[in-house]
Subunit: 328 residues, 2 copies
């Protein structure tokens, strides 16, 4: 099937699409049906109702470096809005210049994930939020100390009270995590070219990207990278070049979990290089080739790699609005 399709497209795709788009579109429709546009908001948990006050507080906290031991590292240091809400270096650099083991995942659309971190060790953003504050190689701040630091500022006393009205001691670990999670749930990128294509704008993506979409489905990439956020939120074994990371095994201790990692989102993958759990893969083309080899047992030819890469670039959405807060 792949060969037949490639033959058809390589030989006549431009002509075909140019002269009889309805027919081509008809054929593409069954591929489009395998995808879903990204909603504007992820599911909002009943245990952490989304409010403007909480989001506003979370926005402040996300940019707050004084909840790190050095006083200069905030969530936004590694999840940098100027860099696709990630850091664009292989592995995260944290407290005292220590280099972590893994590539920083973007926080964009992270509210759509069914588990957090590469090894899925937390089920949700509330569970995720406090980890990097305490991690020795990241912000290296004891949680109690971080809360004390925040409580020193009248503005944070006010903002926590606004976000958690009626609580006698609102500056708590739970509320810190909830506010950060609430803010992160606003960091979504709907309306990417691919979303607009799925919603009927046939000119929103190039012919090459459409070929890439077809190759993405036909080669089985979609088996794991599926749904609105292009991840099944499941764990799959992979050992990419240079990585000895045991992945989910570190969390569960189960032999079967060795080298398994949660499928990452492909949303905004064009602006969240480098790739893989160890960030050792610089370009999207290399990443596509490696995934073909490691996960699908296929050697993609250059044309397929370029097509899939063109498709992946259509998953870059409009960066979310946010404000650099005025911290106290």
């Amino acid at each position: 099937m792949k060969t037949a399709r490639n033959t058809l497209y390589v030989a006549g795709a431009s002509l075909l699409l140019a002269t009889s788009p309805a027919m081509a579109d008809d054929e593409l429709a069954s591929y489009r049906d395998r995808f879903e546009p990204l909603p504007h908001l992820p599911p909002l948990p009943a245990e952490n109702p989304q409010t403007d006050e909480k989001v506003h507080l979370g926005n402040m906290l996300f940019f707050e470096p004084r909840i790190s031991a050095s006083g200069v590292i905030s969530c936004a240091t590694c999840h940098n809005p100027a860099l696709g809400w990630s850091d664009r270096i292989p592995r995260a650099v944290g407290h005292n210049g220590q280099v972590g083991e893994r590539n920083t995942p973007t926080v964009l659309n992270s509210g759509f994930l069914e588990s957090q971190f590469w090894d899925g060790r937390e089920p949700d953003l509330e569970g995720q939020a406090l980890g990097p504050i305490e991690a020795d190689v990241e912000m290296a701040m004891q949680l109690e100390h971080a809360l004390e630091r925040l409580a020193e500022f009248e503005l944070y006393q006010e903002k926590f009270s606004d976000a958690y009205p009626g609580e006698s001691d609102p500056i708590s670990a739970k509320n810190l995590a909830q506010a950060l999670a609430a803010f992160q749930r606003t960091l979504n990128t709907p309306d990417s070219p691919f979303d607009r294509y799925l919603q009927g704008d046939q000119n929103a993506i190039s012919d090459q990207a459409k070929e890439g979409m077809v190759a993405f489905v036909d080669n089985g990439c979609i088996a794991c990278h599926r749904g609105a956020n292009l991840t099944d939120s499941q764990f799959h074994a992979i050992q990419v070049p240079g990585s000895t990371d045991l992945g989910r095994y570190v969390v569960t201790g189960e032999e079967a979990d060795k080298y398994r990692f949660r499928t990452p989102t492909l949303r905004n993958v064009g602006v969240t290089y480098p790739y893989m759990n160890n960030g050792a893969t610089e370009t999207l083309e290399e990443a596509v080739a490696i995934m073909g080899q490691e996960m699908l047992g296929r050697e993609f030819d250059d044309s397929t790699i370029n097509d899939i890469t063109a498709f992946l670039h259509t998953l870059t959405g409009k960066m979310p609005d946010f404000e650099v807060p005025a911290l106290p």
Copy 2:
């Protein structure tokens, strides 16, 4: 004079100002005349003509962490727009968590300064811009390496060409410095309450702040903190608690320059704590008391300290517009 004035004001200021503002204002006018509102732009040097393209590029570069050895420290790490374009820690934290010797000065209104750095070792922002990139305790990146890194990105090739049209090799140290300087010259805070007061809005600042303005003049603070940016750009000897920093002597080697520092601006001093060259002074009240003792040989009473502090808070302007850039 100070006592007489205090007696007058403490006894009857509210009543006086409430019932005969013209008279009070008449008396205050001679004090107001000692100050100047902040212009919207500092002097723009003929050698670095300000253009939108240069400012845009400078904005990108200011937030660019990949011109640091770690890949995570940018100008905006220490000159953080969320923290008054400074860092609000005593002394700067840079590469591998190293702590520098001095408190980070804000870049706000730095284009109005007649020399740069606490010791005035560079005459202008162009001279200042490259220092922190190369400093071992800051970004720790060799300049050649930083330029090579930038040249890897097509977007920077474009933006440098846009900013320096006609140059065959626009990604140069000189142009990097010029772009950063051009951007920084846009980071000004006119229209503070005190500026509005100087421009005729008598209700722009409180009665206490007006008392503080009077005390600021009568006690001689204005001798050094004068002009639109409230600094004479001169060097004065001061040894604040805990500091052994030799100041300008490090630059000139002249005995007379020991412990001399360039007068810092007082613009936005309310949001750029902590204070002094070593950042050891936490509050503005303490800073005012220390300056009284060290520079003026006076023990200010609490009322004077509070008045001057109230005045200083009126020097906090509207934070400048800028954008978090989309980096390549």
